[in-house]
């Protein structure tokens, strides 16, 4: 538990910034991004695996990995960030596997969303809640 004064201030500032974020607007932006990617088509589940930590060790650099065998393109969104768009990975016909990993910055606790466009034009999605915490006290 707890903080030096300077870091308290830094955390306090972070919390304040996060509080000011129009979270609902961010979610709407994420929905818009998904709609633009899918062209409004229905999005199913299964066939895509998004791997992310349950609790981020450092919200500034959160490792994630997505795998969707047979995908031609995968969209990654941080649904609670002011700008939800993270990346779109495109896989050519010669790709050995349709897997990508990267690190992303999360403004606070939120869902990370992955949407894959499959070769047949269908879409599937997976999401994981990643908690960004100010730290606690271990057992």
């Amino acid at each position: 538990m707890s903080y030096t004064r300077r870091q308290t201030l830094a955390i306090g500032l972070g919390a304040a910034t996060a509080a000011l974020l129009p979270y609902r607007a961010a979610l709407a932006a994420a929905e818009d991004d998904i709609a633009a990617f899918t062209g409004g088509a229905e999005v199913g589940t299964g066939g895509i695996t998004l791997t992310a930590p349950e609790i981020a060790e450092n919200g500034n650099t959160v490792p994630i990995e997505v795998s969707a065998p047979g995908a031609v393109s995968i969209l990654i969104l941080a649904a609670g960030n002011p700008n939800p768009g993270v990346a779109t990975f495109n896989f050519g016909p010669l790709s050995a596997s349709q897997t990508a990993s990267t690190r992303i910055r999360l403004a606070g606790t939120q869902d990370v969303v992955a949407v894959a466009k499959m070769a047949d034009g269908s879409f599937v999605s997976d999401r994981k809640e990643v908690k960004v915490t100010i730290g606690g006290c271990g057992g």
Binding site: M1, S2, Y3, T4, R5, R6, Q7, T8, I11, G12, A15, T51, P53, E54, I55, E57, N58, P63, S101, T109, K131, T133, I134, G135, G136, C137, G138, G139
Partner: protein, 565 residues
């Protein structure tokens, strides 16, 4: 044909009927006041493999008092499930007689009176006697240490864990996993780990920079015992860089990583493992969830949350064993493994009654040698206590009340915060408080007591954040500690609510006024996870406070109002 599951249940039932778990047996004997070492150790060997589990010793080499929690609330699927059952409810569940040794060892009430009858528990030389006895019976038994071993005492701090490395090496474990060990800092941990004569395991210990498995820690170790190929997979505490200072071990990343756990189980099965054991520092509820997510684990030896359960919990075909903390218990698990399958088990949670189990002379000599250079410091009496001093419980313990009182008075603060850790032995009313006792509840490598200001709004953010680490209904989001302890601050908590809505009615106790979100309050606390924290060490703050007041007398703490829904 009997399915594997039926076998497990049959073994469990017969254990209950014939006292094969040993449990019903010793509690009856206890009622007759006929506790003996032979009774405590009696065990009809079963099957062809024996596992011995110790965990969360927290550097307690000597016998201690340790009161189990009164309040240990479960949420979500774990509401009302073990280990979230305490006191008389716990005794009814396991058929433990009131006033019996198991009552004293496993539950909180009547602790002072029963302690007089049954004495201190633990002591690594008694643990050694038990391990030697099991090995006499089953020479190739596996001894597995669940971690939180190299932390928690005066000698451990001053030798940077070497005291515990020396003592544990004398017990000859076969494998170990980790948590507080990392707070010694990367260099020291690696120095110890690279010299260990046994396996240092953690499938979830990763290189932070490359997000690849860390090379100094193997995910698993293969053993062949009793003609059985056994894989022991390690799982370190998943949330170390969050719950403890990541700047002390910046090279490492952890996490639950249950996908990799499944890969490791599949890998060892592919290598011919007939028995898969998970040596875990996940905490009990996380292990329960993991047992349902990962298939193919036979036994989980569970650590971190300090629960002691007299019988394993069965999830699917996985048994979960919880062996307590601070050297109070040793678990023995005998398994019948045939044709590549676990066909049954027999289990006993062996309570280490220090006045009943004879110390092993060789280990006593090791402990005495470790303590000799520090003895004058350890034994110096700082004060006495009229009250029972304990820590375990979700909200506050009297040790924490005393520490918060010291912070408020010695550091001239309005509000004190003390971490909700689960380690730290108890003291009985009338006991002298020695320097060793103070270190047992405060010792750590980041013990600086800070003094700072926080707004009322931010204080609520802190309480909400810690509460979610404890009461998030999904165990994978829990960190396994208890609620941060507060001094000078009262509040109401509704554990059924989501984060941000649990805490209300925050009150500054000194004035009785509601906490003003916009006002700044002077806060004193300790165990900051941030680098560069300044202030005196907490043990010095507590020592000077106790020295000043002489005798500790504490009123019951009623500052937290708990709503359980």
């Amino acid at each position: 044909m009997i399915s594997r599951r039926d076998f497990l249940q049959a073994a469990m039932a017969s254990a209950a009927l014939y006292g094969g778990s040993g449990f019903g047996n010793w509690s009856r004997l206890a009622a007759q006041q006929a506790l003996s070492q032979d009774d405590l150790l009696s065990f009809d060997s079963f099957g062809n493999v024996s596992l011995i589990h110790v965990t969360d010793i927290h550097a307690q080499l000597k016998p201690i008092w340790f009161r189990e929690p009164e309040i240990n609330l479960g949420v979500g699927p774990n509401k009302g499930e073990v280990p979230h059952i305490t006191g008389a409810d716990f005794r009814r569940l396991y058929g433990i007689d009131d006033g019996s040794p198991s009552h004293y060892a496993l539950t909180y009430d009547d602790f002072t009176a029963l302690g007089k009858a049954y004495g201190r528990m633990g002591g690594l030389d008694r643990v050694a006697t038990v391990i030697n006895a099991i090995r006499a019976d089953r020479p190739d038994a596996l001894l597995l240490d669940g971690g939180d071993t190299w932390h928690g005492s005066y000698t451990c701090y001053h030798t940077q864990g070497q005291d515990m490395v020396t003592a544990m090496n004398a017990l000859k474990p076969d494998a170990m996993t980790f948590h507080w060990e990392f707070t010694l800092g990367t260099d020291k941990v690696l120095e110890h780990v690279n010299a260990l004569p046994f396996a240092a395991l953690g499938q979830n210990i990763f290189d932070a920079e490359w997000d690849e498995p860390a090379e100094n820690f193997k995910p698993y170790e293969m053993f062949e015992r009793g003609g059985v190929k056994i894989a022991v997979i390690g799982q370190a505490f998943p949330y170390m860089p969050i719950a403890n200072p990541s700047w002390m071990f910046p090279e490492y990343s952890f996490g639950i990583r249950d996908e990799r756990m499944q890969e490791m189980v599949d890998e060892v099965r592919g290598m011919g493992a007939e028995l898969v054991v998970l040596l875990s520092h996940n905490g009990f509820d996380v292990d329960k969830k993991m047992a349902g997510v990962v298939t193919g684990i036979d036994v989980i030896l569970s650590g971190h949350t300090h629960d002691a359960l007299p019988e394993p919990v069965l999830v699917g075909e996985t048994i979960i064993v919880a062996s307590g903390s601070n050297g109070k218990f040793v678990s023995r698990v005998d398994l019948d493994v045939r044709d590549g399958q676990m066909m049954g088990f027999r289990h006993k949670l062996i309570p280490i009654f220090s006045d009943v189990i004879a110390p092993d002379p060789e280990m006593t000599a090791v402990i005495d040698e470790i303590r000799a250079p520090h003895l004058a410091q350890l034994e110096e009496v700082i004060g006495t206590t009229d009250s029972l001093l304990y820590r375990r419980g979700n909200f506050n313990g009297s040790w924490d009340d005393l520490i918060c009182q010291a912070l408020l008075e010695e550091r001239e603060a309005e509000i004190a915060l003390s971490p909700g850790v689960r380690w730290g032995p108890s003291l009985m009313p009338g006991d002298a408080i020695t320097r060793e006792d103070i270190w047992n509840v405060t010792s750590m490598t980041y013990g600086q007591a800070y003094r700072t200001e926080m707004t009322g709004e931010f204080l609520k953010v802190v309480l909400e954040d810690v509460a979610d680490n404890l009461f998030n209904p999904d165990p994978y989001y829990q960190q396994g500690g208890d609620m941060v302890r507060t001094g000078g601050l009262g509040y109401r908590i509704d554990i059924t609510k989501p984060q941000g809505e649990r805490i209300s009615d925050m009150t500054l106790l000194k004035s009785g006024e509601s906490i003003d979100p916009s006002r700044s309050y002077v806060i004193a606390g300790w165990a900051s996870v941030n680098e560069g924290t300044e202030g005196p060490q907490i043990w010095d703050v507590v020592e000077s406070h106790i020295k000043r007041i002489g005798t500790v007398t504490l009123d019951p703490n009623t500052s937290v109002q708990v709503v359980t829904g």
